[in-house]
């Protein structure tokens, strides 16, 4: 049984076994978008580990009786469940598969012990993407096969964070069906990173791409720890049409001795825009490719790597459907509100010959 799925040879039939996040990375890689290389450890591997150790029923018993409104109960059950998962015995074959894949990735990147991000990608039997924002763990700047395996276990166990337990209960997901795929992806060390929406989130205008950006790794933006620069890029004009440069106080970066750290932004960079207009256009173009590929508005995470040539220096880390505006019907607000509605009546009633 295969346990690893590489993004660059992704088979869409594997999607249910990869969770939404990993499947999306595979899809984007297949569409030749600039996604950092990597692979997924399939959810079926996780299931097998539990089943082999008889842990699946134990976990079910712990979690299924919890009253999600009782925080103490949830915390207690969560802790016990996570201990079980962390302590599960890993079959040698799986451990070998992960080590082999990691070493293969290091070779591909021409760097021994390549630094990777280890990301959770939850799934449920009837719900291929069971992730929710900030629900499961992501570990950055992990180096060495042993460390990778240790963090794969941590990702697995994050299926039983207190919030995740409650979320599944509230959504009515089948507890036994819940599983975790884990993505292992080459780490990007961005000068600037952030998110982008392929519509204006303030009004749903689909002619715009909204970009949020800040210095360093994207965690600060995603976690809301920093007020990012905010831009609007017109899809058609391909011009920056709104620009709010924020005071950016902190950034996440990797120190000279390889430690991921949160530091203060140097004073002279705090109020400087974290992207040039050309870079913004590159971010917007990338977000638009994702939108075009999926055929609906997207919410993407991106990172800008200064070491790559301009125009190709923005990498796509994540893309998921925008959900707020996409579900609303699109109507023009013009007719009722405009003081010129009289003109509308004339042009609507008497189109020009």
């Amino acid at each position: 049984m295969s346990t690893i799925e590489w993004f660059h040879t992704y088979d869409p039939r594997r999607a249910p076994d990869m969770g939404g996040k990993n499947a999306s990375l595979g899809t984007l890689t297949l569409a030749e978008m600039p996604v950092p290389p990597g692979f997924a450890i399939l959810a079926s591997a996780y299931r097998k580990v539990l089943a082999d150790g008889g842990l699946d029923t134990a976990l079910h018993d712990i979690v299924s009786v919890v009253d999600p409104r009782d925080a103490d109960q949830v915390a207690n059950a969560g802790r016990r469940a996570r201990e079980l998962v962390i302590g599960a015995e890993l079959p040698q074959s799986l451990s070998d598969d992960i080590v082999d894949a990691y070493e293969e990735l290091s070779r591909r990147c021409v760097t021994p012990d390549i630094a990777v991000a280890v990301r959770s990608s939850a799934t449920c039997e009837d719900q291929p993407d069971a992730s929710f924002a900030g629900g499961h763990d992501t570990y950055l700047w992990i180096r060495g096969a042993a460390e990778v395996i240790a963090h794969v276990r941590r990702c697995w166990s994050s299926l039983y964070t207190d919030r995740a337990i409650c979320y599944r209960r509230e959504m009515g997901y089948v507890e036994l069906g819940a599983a975790m795929s884990v993505g292992v992806q080459k780490m990007v060390l961005p000068r600037t990173s952030g998110v982008a929406f392929t519509l204006d989130p303030s009004n749903g205008d689909r002619s715009q791409v909204a970009v949020e950006a800040s210095w360093g790794l994207g965690e600060a933006v995603v976690a809301g720890a920093v007020t990012p620069d905010n831009f609007l890029v017109d899809k058609v004009l391909r011009e920056v049409t709104r620009r709010t440069v924020a005071t950016k106080t902190i950034q996440h970066r990797v120190s000279a001795d390889g430690i991921l750290e949160e530091v203060e932004v140097e004073p002279d960079r705090r109020q400087a825009p974290s992207l040039t207009d050309d870079e913004l256009r590159t971010v917007a173009a990338l977000a638009l490719r994702a939108e075009k590929h999926y055929g609906c508005p997207q919410d993407v995470e991106w990172a800008l790597d200064d070491h790559l040539p301009p125009g190709e220096n923005v990498l796509l880390l994540q893309s998921r459907p925008e959900t707020v505006w996409s579900r609303k019907p699109r109507v023009s607000s013009y007719h009722a509100a405009s003081p010129l509605s009289y003109m509308h009546r004339i042009t609507a009633a008497q189109p020009l010959s």
């Binding site: 017109d234 049409t241 207009d277 509100a337 008497q350």
Partner: protein
Amino acid sequence: MADRFPSPFDMETPPGAEGWEQLYAYSSVFSEDRRTYEDGTFWFMDGVHTPEVVPPWDATILEFALIGLSQYNTRHYVIPPAKGVDVRFLNGYMYLSPVGVADPAEIEARVPEFMERAGFYFQNWQRLYDAWLPKVRTLIGELEAIEFTPLPDREAMAVLTEGRGTGSALDLLSTYNRLIDLTMKLWHYHFEFLNLGYAAYLDFFGFCKGLFPSIPDQAIAKMVAGIHVDLFQPDEELKKLALLALELGVADHVSTGTAAEAVASLRGSDAGETWLAAWETAKQPWFNFSAGSGFYHSDKVWLENLDIPMGFIRGYIAKAARDESLERPMAAVAAERDRIVAEYAALIDDPENKAMFEGKLGLARTVFPYVENHNFYVEHWGHSIIWRKMRDLGGLFVKEGFFADADDIFLLGRNEVPVALFDMYHGWAVGIESRGPSYWPREITRRHGIMKALRNWSPPPALGVPPEVITEPFTVMLWGVTSESVKQWLGGSDDDPNHLHGFAASPGLAEGPARVIFSADGIADLLEGEILVAPLTAPSWAPVFGKIAATVTDVGGIMSHAAIVCREYGLPAVTGTAYGTKNIKTGQRLRVDGNTGDVTILD
């Protein structure tokens, strides 16, 4: 933030300008008689047309312009939410007030009338517009034919032998009245299509904003760009003359000395005469082009200041000699326009909305040539003649000892001129000295003093009580006065003097040193790569647009001439910054963002 602007009744007369009110029509100044209305309404200073003090006779054309605009809104087309635009002169500066229809029931009641009247024009646009140009050309011919003939010592014998029964002075008085009537008629023609043109434009704007709330104004404006309009023809003529000079090998002659000296040096040779023939052909009508807005008698007209077009031709010769193209990027602008239209249209998925988008765009494009072309025929060509004819009449007064200078006539209100003419007539008829020669020199000196004192006054951008929303099409499109700009004026300019915000009028990002200029005389100083900062720009400044990096103006909206011309020339522009010339100094480095409307002073 204050909720109103200063009262016009609290404005003090600048020292030395006492009595200025008598130089303007009694109905065009603020007065106790209408205090309740005048103090309670909203007035903005018209910096687009009249950034400076308006001399008394020059007020004529402005009053005719505003009355023409108003009557078409109110009496011809019955624009549902808007009546006319009221006008007052205060300390010599022109203030305007858009008059709205407040009662929703009244607006609704006006709609059927509007539909019938405006609908007829929209449906028959092409036929009616085809008749417009010959009509206005005929009128211009009539203006050109006007002649002010000095009163003869004796009436010609023919007056007696033909039994005419009238004398020369009647002709003189009638000729002045005729000039006034033709001027008013010119302004009626001006607004025959313009109100509807702007309304169609605004409708398209509003519709696009409804579909795409964050769409930049300029994206909408670009969808109707790249259409040939006569307003750009004078500049095209200069380019043709520059290329012809190079082709004929007379570029050195053309480029040497004053325009008059260059013309003299071209005489005699075949090549020189060929070029001069082309130069003469280009003059009529295209050199009837004002270096300003055309609303001041002092605006320089190319035809009478040939060094201006000659200077531009020399610039083009130098550019062409460096192998740079003189072509305006017409094809590129048109291709970009088509791309933009197609891509926005593709973002509309409701078929009904898409059809409406196409219909409204079609209408906006149909009206566009008129919206621009009228400016050449009326403000440039027509006005050039009117100023010239008035100067002829001034010369007649000079000959009779009334004035020292022909231009002194512009210090008289239009209804004072017939009185002075009558005085001249009276002296001639009775055979005595008129009072004029002893009265007017003293009076003209006094009026010069008043004008000088008024020029030292700094007019506030607005007066009175702002309305909640501004709906009059011209106020929004042309003057750039919107509910937002009113708010900005109320807030004042004191938040960050190094940052200005205006209309994102023409896209692109530019950095460079500023050159602040206040009139057409300064444009010769502009250097390659500089950013032009001016109260406003005129279409006739286009020849320098090839060498500057961007334009920033104090006044004007997205459809102001500055905005349109910059888009056609692909030059980044921010218009309507209100405080550009006040806050920016020549030499300071600027960053101009024509996409967002932001102007930043970098040092």
